[in-house]
């Protein structure tokens, strides 16, 4: 019987049995969530919501605390001047609270959650594994190609709603640098920390856990969550699209590193732009991004993603062939075994540690 196949773009290798390679070996799911046979989708949703809620509240409290410690500003009567003074005063506290909240209320809870609910092999579960440098290069290139479209869309929204240039400049002042040390500090705050912490939460934990239930459909779901989480209504579209991109990179390579590299690239470019234009116009305010450049970027992005897809797929095929294991093509998931952890038997719990698992 002929079975309709998904488009070749989405076809990947599904392993019939666990592989011997370290990067393809299944983590032993011995955590409390797995032993109870609960739904991976529920774990992804509640993990994401719980940690997101914790992070948002913790960050707000840290910023409020920092505001109280630094004290207020002398009001001059000029709204923009007062706002700029507050922005200068709160710059460092806001940046510090961002780093602290991302590390202690996002990164640490995710690793604790994985250890408690899923497995003691935290790095393995989160797919923190090496990939060939070509995949990293392509991930970075894809992000660079996406950036013009993202910047152009932001400009359109800003222009459409009519945000005053002064207000944007004040907001960007929070994350702009005047000197090289300031720039390096901002790279740590704005580029490295979110690239590590957010990717571990969104892709490493949430997408990876949801993939066990719904396969590639986890990419758009978590991508939209990623956009919503930033609580920036004007950036929802661009951030969700970025979430799709990072999700795709993560899904195809089965490693968190390309997504981290892409996220880092996106943020570091924005920080660098702000640094380079610190004495000039605000980067979001007007007219510096051409629509033709944005369209050209998107047009080149597509073949780059196809190349990335083929490269990652080829690596997997070669790894499987090298290990002497059989493989079949099929659904676009790296799941080995049934797509969902079976339900707990009535009135009891079952041990999922020995069951087939995904890599």
């Amino acid at each position: 019987m002929l079975i309709p196949q998904p488009p070749s773009f989405w076809i990947t290798t599904r392993l019939e049995s666990s592989q011997s390679e370290a990067d393809a070996r299944s983590p032993k799911l011995t955590g409390s969530w797995e032993r109870a046979g609960r739904s991976p989708a529920a774990a992804a949703v509640f993990g994401l919501l719980g940690i997101g809620m914790l992070y948002m509240h913790a960050q707000s409290l840290l910023v409020v605390g920092a505001t109280l410690v630094t004290g207020g500003i002398q009001r001059s009567g000029d709204f923009f001047a007062d706002l700029a003074a507050a922005s200068r005063l709160l710059r460092l506290p806001v940046q510090l609270s961002l780093v602290l909240s991302q590390v202690f209320f996002m990164l640490v809870p995710v690793s604790l959650l994985v250890r408690r609910w899923h497995t003691s092999e935290v790095r393995h579960y989160l797919r923190l594994r090496r990939v060939p440098s070509a995949e990293i290069v392509l991930a970075v290139l894809a992000t660079l190609l996406f950036l013009p479209a993202s910047a152009w869309t932001s400009e359109q929204f800003v222009r459409w709603v009519g945000i005053p240039r002064k207000l944007i400049a004040i907001e960007e002042h929070l994350f702009s640098a005047g000197t090289i040390p300031e720039y390096l500090w901002l790279v740590l705050v704005v580029a490295i920390t979110p690239a590590v912490c957010e990717e571990i939460l969104f892709r490493g934990y949430a997408q990876r856990t949801l993939e066990r239930r719904i396969g590639w459909k986890a990419i758009p779901v978590i991508g939209v969550f990623f956009g919503l989480y930033h609580m920036q209504p004007l950036g929802l579209l661009q951030l969700s699209a970025l979430g799709f991109l990072f999700g795709f990179l993560f899904y195809r390579s089965r490693s968190l590193l390309p997504a981290m590299a892409a996220h880092f690239t996106n943020n570091v470019v924005l920080v660098t732009l702000l640094y380079l234009t610190s004495n000039g116009f605000p980067a979001n305010a007007g007219g510096w991004m051409d629509a033709d450049v944005a369209i050209a970027g998107l047009l080149i992005l597509f073949p780059v993603l196809v190349a990335y897809d083929r490269l990652a797929r080829y690596r997997h095929l070669r790894a499987v062939a090298g290990s002497g294991r059989a493989f079949v093509t099929g659904e676009s998931t790296d799941w080995v075994g049934p797509p969902e952890t079976p339900s707990a038997p009535p009135g009891g719990r079952h041990d999922a540690s020995a069951g087939g698992e995904e890599n």
């Binding site: 739904s39 009519g162 005053p164 609580m231 009535p346 009135g347």
Partner: protein
Amino acid sequence: MTHVPLTIGDMFDRTFRTFVRIFPRALPVALIMIVPPGLLLAAALDMFYTSLGAILPSLMFAIEPDPDLLRTLFWSLLLLSLSGFALLAAMVSVRVAVTALSCADLSGSVMTWQQALGRATGSLFTRALIQVTLEFSVYALLFTGGYGIITFGAAVQASVLVLVGFLALLAGGILVAWWAVRWSQTYAVITCEDVGAVGAFRRSASLVQGSWWRVLGVLLLFGFLKEFVAGLITTPLSLFAFWDFYQSYFALMASPETAVAGPEIFSEMFASLGLGTGLVATVALMLSSLIVPVYLSVLYFDLRARSGEFLPRPRAAKASHGADTTTTLILDHDPFGEQPI
């Protein structure tokens, strides 16, 4: 379906599974019941803010306002009150329907959305509405006492009375929290056990008895999560719902530079608030009505399991005759035909 005391992880899992299963049937009920009063509220808010925006210049420049505008404002307030009550009633009915769907699902039965809609508009709805009215009347009375003492103390300029009033308010708040937790299962009791409005208070309190702190913790945890979800969805929605307002607001901010904004911008800002507020309020209410009953129903079955209501009991009559000594589960409350396991 087996009902045993649940851990928090089990509650997450069961809530998620139940929500996913009943959502396609709960959504039509929510749309049918909430959207019409939501639209009415949006129209009333639009009328209210538009007339307020039109009156604003006369208030700013101390001119006698147009009597027609005042009349429109009055009617809009009346319509606002009516639509507000209609929306609250719709919320109660959707909660009844979603609770019925959740209870059926958790009992292993199947209920169609039409059956759920029937429950949302039938006698269960009337009972739930009476229960909610009684419950909130009690809360209002508790707060009114404190406010009354404060107001009286302020009127006669007696600081001691004001202090006593604040203490009464605090005590009222604690009592409200205590009762709110005890009565948190009233919807489930009315819907799943066919209990009357007054009896639901007693039954809910007896279920929560001995687990008050646990129930409080679960309610807070799920409540915060629900609020977070609502925030994630309504934040971008607010921007688009209040697009005109924000445009006016930013134009006002930029006016020292561009000098495009005059006093009429305030009228425009007010006029643009109504529809957006109605839309966001309706969506937030719908989300709440779809999510809250699910985790409350899961908690309801957990509390029943903790009370030992699902424990197997020997059939005394048959056992005494020696005809059948097997242990059979007998449920005290079995509205959806749960089968013995």
